[in-house]
């Protein structure tokens, strides 16, 4: 699912970026050795706080990016490739 908002945080040895998916769920990238990856479909800056739901703690975080449409429901391969759970 495409992200709808993004915040960015750096610590001494870890970089952390929080993005917001279209369905409201957050996703956090942790980076140690490499720069954080470019999020697929990043195109326009968007205030994370404007997204509606309150996200995880992001003190000092910098709202950053982006949105693309994307998620679908059903039993197609696209839907099969979603839905992380154990």
């Amino acid at each position: 699912m495409a992200p709808t908002s993004c915040v960015h945080e750096e610590r001494a040895n870890v970089e952390k970026r929080v993005i917001r998916k279209e369905d409201g769920r957050y996703l956090i990238f942790y980076g140690f050795d490499r720069p954080l990856p470019q999020v697929t479909g990043e195109s326009a800056a968007q205030e994370a706080a404007g997204g509606g739901r309150t996200g995880p703690e992001t003190h000092g975080a910098r709202p950053e990016a982006a949105a693309t449409p994307g998620d679908v429901a059903g039993s197609s391969p696209a839907d099969l490739a979603k839905g992380g759970d154990a």
């Binding site: 996703l27 956090i28 942790y30 990856p37 739901r53 490739a81 979603k82 992380g84 759970d85 154990a86």
Partner: protein, 329 residues
């Protein structure tokens, strides 16, 4: 439907989460939802072409930050509450095939940092009383996605097993003035059940092992949670986890399925002086081709029957570790 129903006989909550019945089930590798999104390919859970470690909210959560109202009305006999909490998925790496123990030690250290960050951040939430970090590995324990990952459940209550441990720790402290886990670590370091230790952590088959080849990794000083650990502790914990994984994978010659859970201090704002960080591993294989089932006595009475002495299990794990020692680095 997603709600907590009270079990008045066992005095514990049962979470009813009917939407989980439809969760993604063993997709083929090319449709793995936990791999990075390849350019031009169907989007996965991770909208990036690569990543080191990722955490995201479970799409099929048992608890959620804004749960729906319960479908049924509670009564004094049967209280019902919304299942308010958080369920996260932790993607250990972008490599679909590499298990936790196969990852470089440095990467596991970073995973420990991520677990620490999640424990602290989720524990700060007002409604969260307990953060359970765990991994289900292998189909034998019910894994539905093969990409190496763990989970975190942020509970709105202290779940029964950690609660029982904390109550026991309180009682032991009242009687002896000491921490029960500190006493256990001391005891296991003297005896035939220890399989590994360094300055900071000890790994052993406990005297009271319930599962076949059950191993506990405990911090040797009295530290209640990941949040109190130094960088040196985190390095040591990573090494302990890798070492136990190496022993397991050389026990029968295949990647051993297990459950791994971390028990630590609740985040309900209370003191909990008896909390002592430790990790518990529960494999299910009692032999290479026979599983231990939680059958009538275990499920119905709560009493585990084990088929092998913990001392024998520890000996076999030490031998397996010796066979795989080159894989520990």
């Amino acid at each position: 439907m997603s709600e907590m129903r009270w079990h008045p006989l066992l005095r514990q909550w049962v979470v009813t989460a009917t939407h989980r019945q439809d969760r993604t089930y063993k997709p083929p590798k090319e449709y793995c939802p936990l791999c990075p999104t390849a350019p031009g390919a169907y989007p996965t859970e991770v909208p990036a072409p690569e990543y080191e470690i990722v955490v995201f909210e479970n799409r099929f959560p048992s608890f959620r930050p804004e749960p729906p109202s319960p479908d049924v009305e509670g009564t004094s006999l049967y209280p019902v509450r919304p299942a308010k909490g958080v369920c996260e998925v932790v993607l250990y790496s972008q490599d679909h095939n590499k298990t936790l123990r196969e990852m470089p030690l440095r990467h596991i250290e970073r995973l420990v940092e991520v677990w620490t960050d999640r424990y602290i951040e989720l524990g700060l939430r007002e409604e969260i009383e307990y953060v359970l970090i765990f991994e289900n590995k292998g189909e034998a324990v019910g894994v539905t996605l093969h990409h190496p990952h763990g989970q975190i459940y942020a509970f709105p209550f202290i779940p029964p097993i950690p609660k029982a441990e904390l109550d026991a720790a309180d009682e032991h402290r009242r009687k002896t003035g000491r921490c029960v886990l500190c006493d256990i670590v001391d005891e296991e370091s003297k005896g035939p059940r220890e399989i590994w230790r360094d300055e900071f952590f000890s790994a052993y088959v406990p005297f009271f092992a319930r599962y076949p080849y059950e191993v506990h990794i405990a911090v040797r000083e009295h530290l209640p949670s990941l949040a109190e650990m130094s960088a040196a502790h985190r390095v040591s914990l990573a090494r302990a986890i890798k070492t136990v994984g190496v022993a397991y994978d050389h026990l029968f010659g295949f990647s051993l399925p297990y459950m791994m859970v971390m028990h630590q201090k609740p985040t309900d704002g209370k003191e909990h002086p008896g909390a002592h960080f430790h990790v518990e591993f529960y494999p299910l294989n009692r032999t290479a081709d026979k599983l231990k089932y939680l059958a009538g006595c275990e499920s119905g009475a709560g009493t585990f029957i084990t088929d092998m002495a913990p001392e024998t299990q520890a000996q076999r794990l030490r031998e397996a570790l010796e066979r795989g020692k080159d894989a520990c680095e």
